[in-house]
Amino acid sequence: MTVGTRIGVLALQGAFAAHRAVLDRIGAQSSEVRTPDDLDDVDALVLPGGESTTMSMLLESSLLFEPVGKRIADGMPVLGTCAGMILLAREVTDGRDDQRSFAALDIGVQRNAYGRQVDSFETELSIRGSDAPFHAVFIRAPRIVRTGDDVEVLAEHAGTPVLVRSMSVMAASFHPELTDDDRIHRLFIEQVRTTR
């Protein structure tokens, strides 16, 4: 890890503490981002799972929407999981009309497309370039319904992409922060290191 590199975790709502615990475990410095000042202190950003409608509203009221969008456009590495992936997607279906996204990743996602909580599940995935299966937890997960030409698919589940990357933007429809396997966070940290 480059000295002084700090990963921000958007902490408006959701599983931000779980992401920080993983970053801690792999020796990455992290801090919570709730205001524009907090954002100035970080080199990369994790958008956690939670409720994307709530986060979209709080991004506006906390005056974070424009500055986060600008940082991502300027190349700040970002990892979005579940609701965080929705915030990064170019198109969102079954969202609220006033729901905004950063449109930083050329994918289309459908909210809650894997069903309600009784349909939430865990399963094993194979991740490109990695031998061991990855245990993945899907919670009321969004489904990727379209991927652009520049989007690299790193993992699929039942023929649908679930882990994707394009330039310095990475997104998962599942929750790598809820298991002990930290390979996806390590992959993100590698990306942060090469970007700097």
Binding site: L58, S61, F121, E122, E124, L178
Partner: protein, 295 residues
């Protein structure tokens, strides 16, 4: 890879509780109120027939809501929908699971159906939240399969004092257990009337096995921030929103105060011009303490 999907595991159940952290779950009695709650940034709604303040006023037996009304609320919003079952009423819970609600609250606000047994929550796919007044109660509910614990507080009063007492008791005992030596943990388990392995796990991790939220008496943005600063990880607001003068702006203000709970300037800003909060009642004015239901 053809790997089977596992639903309803403890990890999947606790996972949804994790996603609700830092948020506000609002009691609603109509699809219209559910829309207002979602518009204000609620992370979930609790669908029920009467808010606790009305249950307190009207008396009678309070039961699970009409499935039709729960369906209406599910159709109105895209956020998770919770609903309440009576303590020990496992058939109400089966019905709620069949309706596809996202979380069941085995709630002391409804009239208990069993005087000795809570629901065996390990048998369900849907996650459960249960109330607790102290750590022993919280651990007994976790051992029965609760995926989320909330303080009971005193629902329908608009008075935060009981929730503060419960949070301080739960979190204070967690703090003491992390300082205890291994021999003392046996005594803690006995004193709390809780399973020893769960007590030992707390000593090791320093926290509950599941998230801890606050419920019971939140009426203002400052109340929500108080609960969060005391260590709650999210808040439930029952009567506090829709029994106030102007629910929509109050709901949004409570959401913002919950996110920015350590920033007094933001709490001050969002607390302006909200109209009157619910009137509320003090503890010596009430004749039925819901927090005493359950054990």
């Amino acid at each position: 890879m053809a790997s089977p999907n596992t639903t309803g595991s403890m990890r999947v159940q606790r996972g949804l509780a994790e996603m609700l952290k830092g948020g506000v779950i609002m009691d609603v009695v109509t699809p219209g109120q559910a829309k207002i709650a979602e518009d204000a940034g609620a992370v979930a709604v609790m669908a029920l027939e009467r808010v606790p303040a009305d249950i307190r006023r009207d008396g009678g037996v309070a039961r699970m809501s009409d499935p039709e009304m729960i369906e209406g609320i599910k159709a109105a919003v895209s956020i998770p929908v919770m609903a309440k079952a009576r303590i020990g009423h496992f058939v109400e819970a089966q019905v709620l699971e069949a309706l596809g609600v996202d979380f069941i609250d085995e709630s002391e606000v409804l009239t208990p159906a069993d005087e000795a047994h809570h629901i065996d929550k390990l048998k369900f796919t849907v996650p459960f939240v249960c109330g607790a007044t102290n750590l022993g109660e919280a651990l007994r509910r976790i051992s029965e399969g609760a995926a989320l614990i909330r303080s009971k507080g005193e629902a329908g009063t608009g008075n935060i004092v009981e929730a503060v007492r419960h949070l301080r008791s739960i979190i204070g005992d967690i703090r003491k257990i992390t300082q205890a030596d291994s021999a003392e943990l046996f005594d803690w388990a006995k004193k709390l009337n809780a399973p020893l392995p769960l007590v030992q796990e707390i000593a090791e991790t320093g926290w509950l096995q599941v998230p801890l939220f606050c419920a019971g008496g939140i009426a203002t943005p400052a109340d929500a921030a108080l609960a969060m600063q005391l260590g709650a990880e999210s808040v439930f607001v029952g009567s506090g929103i829709f029994k106030s003068d102007d629910p929509a702006p109050r709901a949004k203000a409570i959401v913002e105060a919950t996110t920015h709970f350590r920033d007094a300037h933001i709490i001050a800003k969002v607390s302006r011009k909200l109209g009157a909060p619910m009137t509320g009642i003090s503890m010596d004015e009430i004749n039925q303490r819901y927090a005493e239901r359950g054990w």
